[in-house]
């Protein structure tokens, strides 16, 4: 048993922290939030160059071939800095989908480009009738002369702005089987717009008479439902780690503020109500951290119960991040809601990521389906 980071993981973490301090300090990230793209392509290129984007992509496809835990350590440090960009969407979610569902040829074609940042692939799964399971996919792609033709709307698509490829689950054929079409985002008829609101990178993606070749479908004709589900179940705890990082930042900001801010002649952290906010906050962050890393460990070491642990982690962490930020706001009062202070970056992320890859409600349902018959007592000797 060893719950500490390995030496390599500590170096990785340190590397990201150095990178953030140098190239993406909080003030810079605050400015990015108002930019059209919402993130910095220079950051994205640098992260690819450093080999971090392909951290979880196997070496044979141009990645670093690290475990999901390593990738999570890296992206936790991104979350701590609220660094925006399609890092996880492309480098983890889409890469895992291609790895799980794609043919050998498709993997060899797409994954190396994702790893070096040349292709930015994002998953355009959800639709106006919002839902993360395959049952949420209604959009159809018609077959015409060997091509697919797409018409419809994908809504709340994270990181679609600036993406080069849209992995688009659609219904095809007479039986309405699920297909995953890799659509060139610059193809005629594709339009992407960032949604306005208390949102992060969520976009609406419209497909109007978009023709894609049959070869754009991931896989070799078999069912892709399970491959997609496997990929999303793997990606979820990596996204959770980013949320953990954000929660940790909200915690540290609150502790610092509790020491600096004085009212009634003393630091506000001397008041037990303020202390209580921070204690609830850290409990949420730690609950998120340990459920997340246990899930990642189960995955990387091939232990049973990974699916259960993944759904648990995403449910606990999505709720935990929102609570963490809320408590941090209680501590900060007015200062915390000032745009220039930076806490609101995490606030917005906590709401946005609450839904990405499924909300707590979704994961609780998945969890319950597994738990009804789940055996929790693996015998260490067996």
């Amino acid at each position: 048993m060893d719950l500490s980071l390995s030496e390599e993981q500590q170096l990785l973490k340190q590397g990201v922290e150095d990178f953030i301090a140098r190239e993406a300090p909080l003030e810079a990230v605050i400015e990015l939030a108002d930019s059209e793209l919402g993130y910095s392509p220079e950051h994205y290129a640098r992260v690819a160059e450093l080999g971090w984007l392909g951290a979880a992509i196997p070496e044979q496809y141009g990645g670093a071939g690290l475990g999901l835990t390593d990738a999570a350590v890296l992206f936790e440090a991104f979350g701590y800095a609220a660094l925006p960009g399609p890092f996880i969407s492309s480098g983890v979610v889409s890469a895992l989908i291609v790895e799980e569902a794609g043919s050998e040829e498709q993997r060899a074609e797409l994954l190396p480009r994702i790893a070096i940042g040349q292709a930015i692939a994002v998953l355009a799964l959800t639709e106006p009738g919002y839902g993360w399971g395959p049952e949420g996919v209604h959009m159809r792609a018609a077959s015409r002369n060997g091509d697919y033709v797409l018409d419809g709307v994908k809504l709340f698509v994270h990181d679609a702005i600036g993406a080069t490829h849209l992995i688009t689950p659609v219904r095809t054929g007479d039986d309405g089987a699920l297909s995953l079409l890799v659509v060139d985002a610059s193809a005629p008829g594709v339009s992407v717009r960032r949604l306005a609101g208390f949102t992060g990178s969520e976009c609406v993606v419209r497909f109007e008479n978009v023709r894609v070749p049959a070869s754009a479908a991931l896989g070799e004709g078999g069912a892709v439902d399970e491959a997609l589900d496997r990929a999303l179940t793997k990606a979820a705890p990596v996204l959770s780690a980013y949320q953990v990082g954000g929660g940790q930042a909200a915690f540290e900001m609150a502790v610092d503020y509790s020491r600096e801010r004085r009212q009634f002649g003393q630091p506000i952290g001397r008041f037990q109500h303020v202390q209580n906010h921070i204690i609830q906050l850290v409990n949420h962050v730690d609950a998120s951290r340990w459920t997340t890393y246990e899930a990642l460990w189960r995955h990387d070491s091939g232990k049973p119960g990974f699916e259960v642990a993944s759904h648990l982690a995403k449910a606990v962490t999505s709720e935990g991040f929102v609570h963490a930020v809320n408590y941090s706001h209680e501590v900060h009062a007015g200062v915390g809601v000032m745009h220039e202070y930076g806490l609101t970056l995490f606030t917005t992320l906590s709401r946005s990521l609450y839904h990405q890859l499924g909300s707590p409600r979704y994961h609780r349902r998945r969890l319950a389906d597994l738990l009804v018959d789940h055996d929790l007592g693996p015998d260490p000797l067996d």
């Binding site: 209580n276 340990w290 890393y293």
Partner: protein, 407 residues
């Protein structure tokens, strides 16, 4: 990262040995687990474990412990857990926390004299902390110990003590200087329970199911001119608050624990066994959601305890983690009990042989969820300690450090 202990072939062999031994020695009990008859069986198990060094596996060999590695202790804890037992398999708070405190603060002579009976399971020791005047504010104890020749004369009262079957020794904190400054006027004593002037009187609490699991009462202990040999003062006169930091650190949960998530499984299995009214409850979406909630509560708690177990055994720098696990256990126990109330309906409240085949297991959980909010420091006290350790409203230099739990 590795959330599981890694076992060497030698440890696997040890596990097989432990498992086989426990199969032979864990008593078969029927009816009330806490009856005098069954308690005697668990005491015997404690003595048998102690004779092999398995009761306190990591305690030093020269003081009657097992002298075994942390990994051996994990194996033993896991194998005991398979039988739903902890080690020791009965209430021995003064042995667990007092023993650890004496290891840190006792003189060599005291370690050789006081520890072997504890570590070998020959005696049962209760901790006596709470007084009528000193609950959360332990340092305000008004139990006095006054030096008289080679003895201290003790007068005072301690409440909410121990369990139902008596103890051989009491491990307690007394005021040794009435005029002394706070925190510099207290000392710890190991007191044989049969000294003249000690009176033990029962206290009945909400957790006293009269029958079934979780039966048991607490006690009030009166000291009336009790003469204790001065050699039983541990850690130096008026140095008791530093000794307390060790004791309380462990009591506040920094020792951690490795255990299976038994309450989720028990609740699910009980739910499955309930008579259905139309569709079975497990088919109902809301019920399934509550089951997921229960899993979330109990898994987070399990992971906090696991993290602390690892931190404590590998001597990591601990900060707020002990009281965090303690606070979380208390509050999440209360939340879990409410989920059980909802999931199992009024069956959760039963300790009724006709309609409850569990022997009052959930009745006991529901009661103890409330009773256990307070011992070992109230939930609020855990938060106070967390705040000091995190350094909320305090500069880094004023941040409180965790108590020392190893020599």
């Amino acid at each position: 990262m590795d959330f599981e202990p890694a076992y060497t072939p030698e440890q696997r062999a040890f596990r097989a040995e432990v498992r086989a031994w426990l199969e032979d020695h864990v008593p078969h009990v029927e009816g009330d687990q806490d009856s005098d008859e069954n308690y005697a069986k668990y005491r015997q198990l404690g003595r048998d474990l102690g004779a092999r060094g398995w009761l306190r596996p990591t305690a030093p060999l020269e003081y009657g412990g097992g002298g075994l590695s942390v990994d051996h202790a994990i194996v033993l804890a896991e194998e005991m857990d398979r039988h739903d037992l902890t080690s020791p398999p009965y209430y021995d708070s003064g042995g667990s926390l007092g023993g650890a405190s004496i290891l840190v603060w006792g003189s060599e002579e005291q370690k050789r004299r006081l520890l072997p009976p504890i570590f070998r399971g020959e005696t049962v020791t209760w901790q006596l902390l709470t007084g009528p005047e000193a609950g959360s504010d332990l340092a305000s104890t008004q139990t006095d110990a006054v030096r008289d020749g080679d003895e201290y004369v003790i007068n005072g009262t301690k409440v909410f003590i121990g369990g139902s079957h008596g103890a051989d020794s009491f491990w307690t904190i007394c005021r040794t200087d009435r005029e002394g400054a706070r925190h510099q006027n207290v000392s710890w004593f190991m007191i044989p329970s049969d000294l003249p002037g000690i009176t033990v009187e029962r206290m009945y609490l909400l957790s006293d199911g009269r029958e079934g699991i979780g039966r048991g009462y607490k006690n009030t202990i009166y000291f009336d001119n009790v003469r204790v040999p001065a050699e039983n003062l541990v850690g130096g006169e008026n140095n008791g608050w530093r000794v307390a930091s060790t004791h309380l650190e462990l009591e506040h949960g920094s020792g951690g624990r490795i255990a299976r998530n038994v309450w989720f499984e028990r609740t699910r299995d009980r739910l499955r066994s309930l008579p259905a009214n139309g569709a079975h409850p497990l088919e109902d979406a809301e019920t399934r959601g509550l089951l997921a909630d229960l899993f979330m509560e109990t898994e987070v708690q399990r992971l906090f305890e696991l993290r602390n177990f690892w931190m404590n055994r590998t001597h990591q720098d601990m900060s707020y983690e002990g009281p965090q696990a303690s606070y979380y256990r208390k509050m999440s126990g209360l939340r879990a009990s409410q989920i059980m109330l909802e999931l199992l309906g009024p069956y959760a409240q039963l300790n009724d042989a006709e309609f409850d085949p569990t022997g009052g297991r959930f009745d006991s959980y529901l009661r103890n969820a409330i009773v256990s909010l307070h011992p070992g420091g109230t939930a609020d006290i855990q938060k106070v300690i967390m705040a000091r350790r995190i350094g909320i409203g305090r500069g880094e230099s004023e941040r409180e450090r965790a108590g020392r739990t190893v020599e």
